[in-house]
């Protein structure tokens, strides 16, 4: 164990303060009685009550979750397919071009992606709404999925797939019963990444969203321009809570898996 030193304590305190004081202020003021954001008027949960009554926010939240779920699922399917072809397809005509193009959205400024999608939707006459947001989010999150999945595919022993073929699988059956279960963790983390990206995207969504559908980030951003309301603080606190819960659950699950695996390996050593 490292010893306690004043230097460590100070840097740790400063680091945490820098990261978490802004969030702490939001959480504290969400319980503020006063309508004025910066004046403390006593403890109250009334803004949470008002938030639940606010239909515009609830609609925006619903749209955000619908878009997130649908676009992340489509992006996961397409991104996994692209990764499989790039890693396993061997050398086919246009491979270099394809692999360059699939990663382009990673480095492309979001403003340009948003603008070009907007122009595309206008020129093909697609009305802006939930469909266009789903399409746009699928487009940019698919490449993240394919990066995550292809890194898993590269590191996995090809002969496992060959063994499946050798034992009577058709290529599709081999993918379904062997490859997919093995790369499943990467596919799931790619899907979570796509979901997160979709949930917190503001720039692209604001280009392609229409009056019929607004996502939560757009709603929050536009209402903050008219002044920070305590309702926004309440909403932010709820979101911080959800994210914190997710992170803690994920890290506990991972830790447990590591401990279990170590235990199993010890059993194997003893048995061997």
């Amino acid at each position: 164990m490292r010893r306690f030193t004043w230097f460590n304590a100070t840097s740790l305190t400063l680091g945490f303060a820098f990261l978490y004081i802004p969030m702490l202020i939001v959480i504290i003021y969400s319980f503020n009685e006063s309508k004025l954001v910066t004046v403390w008027g006593g403890f109250s949960t009334k803004w949470y009550g008002e938030l639940v009554q606010n239909e515009a926010f609830l609609d925006a939240a619903l749209v955000t979750f619908k878009v997130g779920l649908v676009s992340s699922v489509i992006a996961t399917i397409l991104g996994t397919m692209a990764a499989y072809v790039l890693v396993r397809g061997g050398r086919f005509y246009g491979r270099t071009l394809f692999s360059g193009m699939i990663y382009a959205p990673l480095v492309m400024p979001e403003v340009i992606t948003g603008l070009s999608l907007l122009l595309l939707f206008i020129s093909i006459g697609l009305d802006r709404g939930i469909v266009t947001i789903i399409l746009a989010h699928t487009t940019f999150s698919m490449c993240y999925v394919s990066v995550v999945v292809s890194s898993r595919l590269v590191s996995f022993d090809r002969s496992v797939e060959e063994a499946a073929l050798d034992l009577g699988c058709t290529p599709f059956d081999a993918f379904r019963s062997v490859t997919l279960p093995i790369i499943a963790p990467a596919v799931i983390s790619g899907w979570l990444l796509a979901l997160t990206l979709s949930l917190d995207d503001l720039v692209i969504a604001s280009f392609v969203a229409g009056p019929s559908a607004t996502t939560l980030p757009i709603k929050v951003f536009s209402s903050v321009r008219l002044g920070v309301s305590p309702e926004i603080n309440a909403l932010s606190t709820i979101l911080i809570g959800i994210v914190a819960l997710g992170t803690v659950t994920a890290s506990i699950t991972t830790k447990r898996a590591v401990v279990r695996r170590r235990h199993e390996q010890q059993m194997a050593v003893q048995a061997g």
């Binding site: 002969s159 496992v160 060959e162 499946a164 073929l165 050798d166 034992l167 699988c169």
Partner: protein, 373 residues
């Protein structure tokens, strides 16, 4: 030597299980297999032996269906298998990395191929149990591959490949990941299993001892070509080239010029040295020849032996003590180095010879092999 079992490769009427006919395989500009012809018979334990990059793995992958020949045909039971995909061939493979499915238990790994055949559900469990018994891993049926040791994984891989009772089992360096003791035990088990199941085995290996131990016939390969296909003892005692002799075991290679009188050959190999006397293996051996002799066929002694014609004097330069035997590196007056091996049959005797000793090397007329050069 009387033959106890008939060998199909000596029987012209026997029908081979596998036939390679003028098979060539190229990868771009690289020729992995060049115009290869070979017959492999049913119930054989056939070893493909060669250094890495000699084409042995490519041959095996063509049999499994993962590669197709650039030209030529491969027949299995008289049928051309080139257009048949791997999942439709009655050929199974045991992979070098074992390639076990990490997400399935040992039982499900072995049942994997059976579930994809038309075997009724009830029989699958029985067949898996039979396989588990065959390779002695019944205890581990419900473990995942990462929960068992390397030796046990090797058994699972073998059981999985044998479960569908293929006509032909391919083994790609099956024992290379095991330590030496376990490898030797497993070699005998492999032979036992091959005999019990009556399956034709083709094994790829770069380990010559392994090939010699397990195989009924060994094919020595180099640069995509077959150098020699024969039984292990013929490969060792009657190699057809210096390459084969040098690849399998140790050998002294002496170059010289021969003259034949009736059935004896005299080889002049160094000025001022007596000629090497050998027996003629085929007529017309006058001219430049290579004389090959294994170190264990050479006797090393302090006095000049009188019972044999090939006797040469030299000086001990190096001694390699290997425990069971010692190899003496003896330099002839012309600079030629000759290795001679002597078994260390006594435990407590001081070494008979030491560095710089002058010794006599001798061998009988039939000890060496004479090849045209």
């Amino acid at each position: 030597m009387p033959e106890t079992t008939p060998n199909p490769w000596n029987d012209p009427t026997a029908k081979p299980l596998i036939q390679f006919k003028n098979v060539t395989k190229r990868f771009g500009n690289f020729t992995a297999i060049e115009d290869l012809n070979i017959d492999i018979y049913e119930k054989e334990f056939f070893a493909l032996l060669g250094p890495s990059g000699c084409g042995k793995t490519t041959m095996m992958r063509m049999l499994a269906g993962f590669e197709t020949p650039t030209s030529g045909t491969i027949l299995l039971d008289g049928q051309d298998i080139s257009p048949i995909p791997p999942n439709k061939r009655s050929v199974n493979m045991m992979f070098q990395s074992y390639a076990l499915f990490p997400h399935l238990t040992v039982f499900d790994n072995i049942a994997f191929g059976l579930k994809r055949s038309n075997m009724p559900k009830g029989q699958i469990a029985d067949r898996v149990q039979e396989m588990l018994r065959l390779v002695q891993i019944e205890k581990f049926a419900n473990r995942k591959p990462e929960q068992i040791s390397g030796g046990q994984r090797q058994r699972v891989a073998l059981a999985r490949a044998l479960a569908k009772a293929p006509k032909l089992l391919l083994l790609d360096e099956p024992l290379s990941a095991l330590d030496k003791k376990l490898r030797q035990e497993t070699q005998f088990e492999l032979m036992d299993i091959q005999e019990k199941t009556g399956t034709t085995f083709v094994i790829v290996t770069h380990d010559q001892e392994e090939a010699m131990t397990v195989a009924s016939r060994v094919a020595v390969m180099d640069h995509g070509k077959l150098k020699q296909v024969d039984t292990p003892d013929r490969i060792y005692e009657a190699p057809n080239s210096a390459y084969v002799a040098d690849f399998i075991g140790e050998v002294n290679i002496i170059e010289g010029h021969s003259t034949t009188q009736r059935d004896t050959v005299s080889i002049a190999w160094a000025k001022g040295q007596p000629e090497i006397i050998g027996t003629l293996s085929k007529p017309g051996m006058d001219g430049n020849v290579t004389f090959l002799i294994r170190p264990e066929k050479i006797v090393i002694s302090a006095e000049k032996p009188t019972d044999r014609r090939n006797t040469f004097q030299g000086k001990v330069v190096d001694i390699a003590y290997l425990g069971n035997l010692s190899t003496y590196y003896v330099q002839m007056p012309n600079g030629q180095m000759i290795k001679a091996q002597a078994a260390n049959s006594r435990r407590r005797s001081s070494r008979p010879f030491t560095w710089e000793d002058t010794v006599w090397l001798s061998w009988t007329d039939t000890a060496g092999i004479i090849l045209d050069r």
